[in-house]
């Protein structure tokens, strides 16, 4: 399994690149190849998104049985925002913290694989994706055993008096963030690795020759060169984490509910479609805005 693909893009400037561009065929074949896939994405991704936005403007007094009338009820958005403000904030907070932890844990791992692993490189890469091999839900449930009240982690923390005698980890924000960090860590490591791997280690040697110490050469050479990986990794971690509700449902309590729980509950239990759709659109918009702001700040627009 190729791993570099997660970083996206392939090194340009190989010999004959311009010629290859020339060799691209014109004509109808290209369109015919594109058609089925693009049509599929259009019908089952674009149209549903439009339908979602429309549903968000339906009359909130309707119901599934009586049908909904389109009343352009923009108030649905305001209602959703005021009513579920807490869950929105919590989603972005948990996802943000989990992303920072993923970066702090993922960077040393990616760095070690790229520069320090020697002949074990491929094995370590396999190990990074290996947790993916088993079911997401089963893995998350395993955290329930790990963090359980009589488990070794809680016992150790109690012995060290780091948490009180009746303290617990399950059903706390710590458990939810731990689960989120764990589940999305590979999405951070792979793009980081892909960008570090491309780096020429001689640049660090050159820095050393110019009397840079380890920290300076990291700050001035390694980190800037790995920025595309950092940006791709944080986005690949943050976006799914902000929409996730498996971790908060399985490892938390109603006090740790995230916006995903709300959307799921509104759509499938309360059957309040306009409010559900409005929350869903708001989540999407918030993520798009954050991503655009972030990418611009990081100066990596060309990634998109």
């Amino acid at each position: 399994m190729s791993v570099a693909q997660f970083g996206g893009g392939v090194a340009a400037g190989e010999p004959g690149q311009a010629e290859a561009e020339q060799a691209k065929r014109r004509g109808r074949t290209g369109y015919l190849l594109l058609l089925p896939g693009i049509l599929w994405l259009f019908v089952f991704f674009i149209i549903p998104t439009i339908q979602l936005a429309a549903t968000a403007l339906y009359d909130p007094n309707g119901s599934l049985d009586t049908g909904y009338a389109m009343t352009f009820a923009f108030g649905n958005y305001i209602d959703a925002l005021t009513q579920y403000q807490e869950q929105f904030v919590r989603s972005f907070l948990y996802a943000g913290i989990a992303t920072v932890f993923c970066l702090l844990l993922g960077y040393p791992l990616a760095y070690a694989i790229a520069f320090k692993s020697g002949r074990w490189k491929n094995l370590m890469l396999v190990l990074v994706i290996a947790p993916f091999f088993t079911s997401f839900l089963v893995r998350t449930l395993a955290w329930k055993s790990i963090l359980s009240d009589n488990g070794f982690i809680v016992e150790t923390l109690k012995t060290l008096s780091l948490i009180p005698e009746d303290g617990r980890l399950l059903a706390t924000p710590i458990a939810v963030v731990t689960g989120l960090t764990y589940n999305f860590l590979p999405f951070m490591v792979l793009p980081l690795y892909a960008s570090l791997e491309k780096m020429d280690p001689r640049l660090i040697e050159a820095g050393k020759d110019l009397y840079a110490n380890g920290f300076t050469s990291f700050r001035k050479i390694t980190l800037p060169l790995s920025m595309p990986g950092v940006v791709a990794g944080t986005l690949l971690t943050f976006i799914p984490a902000a929409g996730d509700y498996i971790n908060s449902e399985l490892l938390g309590t109603p006090q740790q509910r995230m916006i995903g729980n709300v959307i799921d509950n509104l759509f499938l239990v309360q059957l309040d479609y306009p409010a559900a759709a409005a929350s869903s659109v708001l989540l999407m918009l918030a993520i798009v805005c954050l991503v655009l702001f972030y990418v611009r700040r990081a100066g990596t627009e060309d990634l998109l």
């Binding site: 994405l41 674009i46 993922g106 991503v291």
Partner: protein
């Protein structure tokens, strides 16, 4: 001098040490899944290891409905993989090898599903199916449609990466040797791209088999394996679930390691 050397050794290895700790964190749950697959719990709501037993492994289907849900996930995973791999490979070829109008829009359309939270994709499909009056008939087909949709982009990206790294001059050489376009494609290009297509298919299968959120919105009464786990999480998890989790892990790891070994042997 000695101190300096010791300092350098620590600096050299500290990062490797941290990396191994992080890998340990990533494997802790796997270890627990394997451990719990041998658990003989006194109550379903108990998540601690209590007593050792082989019975979960000798009779994993003892848990009503679980094996049926695994079969359902395998069926959906297989079909979704075939469709997504074919459609995605065609798109990847068009993107790398052909000129057409609307390239930027196409790339955006491929990228968007990967950047959209699953909960948004799942709920918008449900909104569409409901508006189309299909809410009552959701099931196997709607899960399949959704899975093909979100697997497709990943297939395109994976195959495209392989294809873009390929030197097109191999094909030119074949044509210089009087291969027609058809022969050059099947004898030269396709075998070279094939590993990328296999990787894409494996990725698509694992995405489909493991999907919960999108499926949860569109499953009707069809129970896939993740749906089964979710449903039983409310009532207490049967230990057999960990048997399936362990089996998935072992099979996938064996596949990846053996393909790595084959590649290495070929390279020699």
């Amino acid at each position: 001098m000695v101190l300096q050397r010791a300092g350098r050794w620590v600096a050299d290895h500290v990062i490797l040490f941290i990396a191994l700790l992080v890998l340990g964190y990533m494997f802790l749950p796997i270890f627990f899944v394997i451990l719990m697959s041998f658990n003989d719990p006194t109550s379903r709501l108990n998540y601690e290891f209590q007593a050792f037993t082989w019975s979960n492994w000798t009779d994993p289907c003892a848990e009503a409905g679980m094996c049926a849900s695994v079969v359902k996930s395998l069926e959906i995973g297989f079909l979704a993989t075939v469709f997504a791999t074919v459609l995605g490979t065609l798109v990847a070829f068009a993107l790398v090898r052909h000129r057409f109008r609307g390239r930027a829009a196409t790339s955006l359309l491929i990228f968007l599903p990967m950047a959209t939270p699953e909960v948004v994709m799942g709920s918008s499909l449900l909104a569409l199916f409901t508006a189309a009056g299909l809410a009552g008939s959701l099931g196997f087909w709607s899960i399949l449609v959704a899975h093909i949709m979100f697997c497709l982009s990943f297939v395109v990206v994976t195959v495209k990466a392989r294809l873009a790294g390929l030197d097109y001059r191999y094909e030119q050489a074949a044509m210089d040797l009087y291969a027609n376009e058809w022969q050059a494609f099947w004898r030269v290009t396709f075998p070279l791209v094939f590993p990328g297509i296999v990787a894409a298919a494996l990725l698509a299968f694992s995405l489909s088999f493991d999907d919960f959120i999108v499926t949860n919105f569109n499953h009707g009464n069809t129970i896939t394996f993740p749906m089964f786990v979710w449903g039983s999480a409310q009532r207490g998890i049967p230990p057999q679930v960990n048997v399936i989790g362990t089996a998935m892990f072992v099979v996938a790891l064996a596949l990846v390691l053996s393909s790595g070994l084959i590649q290495r042997r070929r390279a020699r």
